[in-house]
C-alpha cells in the first residue's frame, strides 16, 4: 500500500476548502470527555535500518506451513500453490475490488466469477454454480435451507455423523430459530450403515447431507446414499473435497442435487483458518432456490460479449424478508484464486495432484500402521486423509514429539465433543493425518521414525 503524505501547506489548503481552522477542530463532534488528551503510548520512532531489523526479527519467529511438514487434516490442507495464483490474485484490479454492487461496471470481476462458475460446474458435474459463499460450513447450511425451500419440507433434515462437526454446528446455528429437526446418523464404523440412514429418512425429510470423503477421511457410499435420499423424495446434498474429484466420481454424475465444498484446497493458503471459500452448485431446476450471486453471460447493444448479475430480484436488497438468503455477496478474491488454480491445473493436472495425494497418503498409512500400538482407526477406503489410533495413552507424547521433529498432525478427534458419544474411548486415541502432494517420501519416513521412537518412549 502506498504511503500518502501531505505537507503543512496542503493541510492548510484542505482545511480552508472545507472551512475549518485546524485538524483538531475536526474532532469537535467527539464529546470532550471522550477525547484523548495525551500522545498515544507508543515506543519512540525507529530509523529505517532499525525498523527493518525489528521486522526481520519478528518475522523470524513465525512458523509457517512452508517451514514444517504440515500433515493436518480436518477440512484445511497444505496443498501446493503455484506462483501464478498469487501473481494474478495480487493484481490491483482484483485485489482491491469488493464484490461488485454496481455490478455491470466491473466486467473484469464478473468475467472472473463467470469462469469460476464454469469451472465449478465442470469440476462437480452440476448444472449451475453460484459465484461462491463464505466457506464450507455456510455452504452446507445454505444447502440445507435451499433443500427445505425446494422440497417445501421444513420440518426435518438428516445429516451423517461423519460430516465435519464444525459444519454440523453451523447448520445447527442456521436452523436454531426454525422448527426443523436435525437428525444425525452416527457412524461408529467410520462410515455410515445404509440401513440406519434408511431408518432415519421419511417423507418429511428435506435432505440427506453426506460428506465425501468424510471427516475421518473415509469414503462413504455416496452413490447409494443419494439413491436412498431420492427414494424418500429428499434431496441429496454432498459436501466434497475439490481435490478428490481428480479421482472420485463427480457429485453430478451420481445424482447429487446440491454439491457443496470448502474451496480452500484450490490455491488458498491455510492462513490460520480463514478466510476461505464456500462452493455451492446445484441442478438447473433448483437455480431459483440458490443463494448468493450468479453471473450470466450475454451480449450488449453493440453485440459484444458481456457479463451481468442474474437472479438479483431474489436477493435481500430487493426482496427484503422474502429473499432466498441473507448472503448477498461472494468471496471474490478467493474465488479468483480457485479459478486461476483450476484453470492452471486443468483436468490432467488435477488428476495428477489427486493421485499423488492418494498414493502418498496410502504409503504413509501403511508405514505408520507397522508401528506397534499405532493403527488405522477405521478399515475403510480413504483418499488423502485417515484417522490414526494411537493406543496406550501415548497420543499426547506422540503429537508433542512429532511437533518437535517438524510435523504437525491433527486435529485430534477428542477435540470435538460429539465424537465422545460416537466412538467412546477410541475418540481419546484418534488423530487425523492428511498427506498432500507436497509431502515427500523422506518426510513420511521421518514421521514414521518419529512416531516409532515416541511409542517406545525413547
Amino acid at each position: 500500500m502506498a504511503y500518502l503524505f501531505n505537507t503543512a501547506k496542503q493541510q492548510r489548503a484542505m482545511l480552508q476548502t472545507i472551512g475549518v481552522d485546524s485538524i483538531s477542530d475536526l474532532f469537535n463532534q467527539v464529546p470532550e470527555q471522550l477525547r484523548l488528551k495525551r500522545p498515544l503510548d507508543l515506543p519512540p520512532p525507529l530509523s529505517e535500518i532499525e525498523l527493518e531489523a525489528h521486522l526481520r526479527e519478528c518475522a523470524g519467529r513465525n512458523v509457517g506451513g512452508s517451514s514444517r511438514a504440515c500433515m493436518q487434516g480436518g477440512g484445511v490442507y497444505d496443498h501446493f500453490i503455484p506462483a501464478v495464483v498469487d501473481e494474478i490474485a495480487s493484481r490491483g484490479e482484483f485485489y482491491t475490488a469488493y464484490t461488485p454492487y454496481q455490478a455491470e461496471a466491473s466486467q473484469g470481476s464478473l468475467q472472473a466469477f463467470f469462469e469460476y462458475q464454469t469451472l465449478i460446474c465442470q469440476l462437480t458435474g452440476m448444472d449451475v454454480s453460484n459465484a461462491s459463499l463464505y466457506e464450507g460450513g455456510t455452504s452446507v447450511s445454505e444447502a440445507a435451507l435451499m433443500a427445505m425451500r425446494a422440497t417445501q419440507r421444513r420440518e426435518k433434515i438428516v445429516i451423517l455423523g461423519s460430516v465435519h462437526p464444525e459444519y454440523r454446528e453451523v447448520v445447527e446455528t442456521y436452523l436454531s430459530h426454525l422448527d426443523c429437526e436435525i437428525v444425525v446418523v452416527s457412524t461408529p464404523e467410520g462410515t455410515v450403515d445404509l440401513a440406519n440412514v434408511e431408518a432415519a429418512l421419511d417423507d418429511r425429510t428435506a435432505c440427506l447431507i453426506v460428506q465425501q470423503p468424510n471427516f475421518f477421511g473415509c469414503l462413504e457410499d455416496a452413490c447409494r446414499l443419494t439413491d436412498i435420499a431420492h427414494r424418500y423424495g429428499a434431496l441429496s446434498v454432498v459436501s466434497f473435497d475439490p481435490i478428490s474429484l481428480g479421482l472420485l466420481k463427480r457429485p453430478g454424475d451420481f445424482g447429487a442435487d446440491i454439491a457443496v465444498a470448502e474451496g480452500q484446497p484450490l490455491g488458498i493458503p491455510m492462513q490460520y483458518g480463514g478466510p476461505f471459500l464456500g462452493i455451492l452448485a446445484c441442478r438447473q431446476n433448483f437455480v431459483r432456490q440458490m443463494p448468493g450471486r450468479l453471473i450470466g453471460q450475454t451480449i450488449d447493444r453493440n453485440g459484444e460479449r458481456c457479463f451481468v448479475l442474474n437472479l438479483q430480484a431474489r436477493e435481500q436488497h430487493i426482496r427484503r424478508e422474502k429473499a432466498t438468503s441473507n448472503i448477498c455477496t461472494n468471496q471474490g478474491l478467493l474465488a479468483l484464486r480457485a479459478t486461476v488454480y483450476l484453470a492452471l491445473l486443468g483436468k490432467v493436472g488435477l488428476k495428477e495432484v489427486a493421485e499423488l495425494c492418494c498414493r502418498k497418503a496410502h504409503y504413509a498409512a501403511e508405514q505408520l500402521s507397522t508401528i506397534d500400538g499405532v493403527e488405522l482407526m477405521f478399515d475403510r477406503p480413504f483418499f488423502k486423509e485417515f484417522s490414526l489410533r494411537i493406543r496406550n495413552g501415548k497420543l499426547d507424547e506422540v503429537l508433542r514429539n512429532a511437533r518437535c521433529d517438524g510435523f504437525d498432525l491433527g486435529p485430534t478427534l477428542r477435540h470435538f465433543q460429539s465424537f465422545a458419544t460416537q466412538f467412546g474411548k477410541a475418540s481419546e486415541e484418534g488423530v487425523l493425518v492428511a498427506v498432500t502432494e507436497k509431502r515427500t517420501r523422506d518426510d513420511i519416513d521421518r514421521l514414521v521414525r518419529s512416531l516409532r521412537k515416541s511409542v517406545l518412549g525413547l
Binding site: R288, Q312, A313, R314, I318, R319, K322
Partner: protein, 128 residues
Amino acid sequence: MDPAELNYTTTHEWIYAHRGVAAVGITEFAVRALTDLVYIDLPDVGRMLGVGEVFGEVESVKAVSELCAPVAGKVIEVNESLPDELDILSEDPYGRGWMIKLNISEPSALHALLDLAAYQEHCTTDSH
C-alpha cells in the same frame, strides 16, 4: 376477455368466473409495473388454495412478486405455455395470459372482490 366483466384483487390479480369455474391472471397494470418478465412459477394441478394463498410467483429483472388466489378453490388447470412464452402476459393479460383455472369452493366469495371501477380507483391511489 373484457376487463369490465372481471373481478379484481388489491394485489392485482383478476378473476373471471363462470358456472363455478374461474380463470385467474394478473392485470395489465401489474405486468407493466413488473417490466421485463423472466420467470413464472405456477402450482400443480390438484392443489387446494385458500383465499389469498400464494399459488406461484412471477419474476422480472427488477422484482419477484407472489401470485395470490382471489378466492378459495382447487386448481384444475394450469397454463402450461406461459413459462416458455412470457410475452403472452404483456400481449394479452386478460386472455391467453390466464395462469390457473380453479374450481371455486364458495362462489359467493366473488362479491368481496373489486369491480373494474374500484380496481382502477385502487391503482391510482396505491401504486403498489
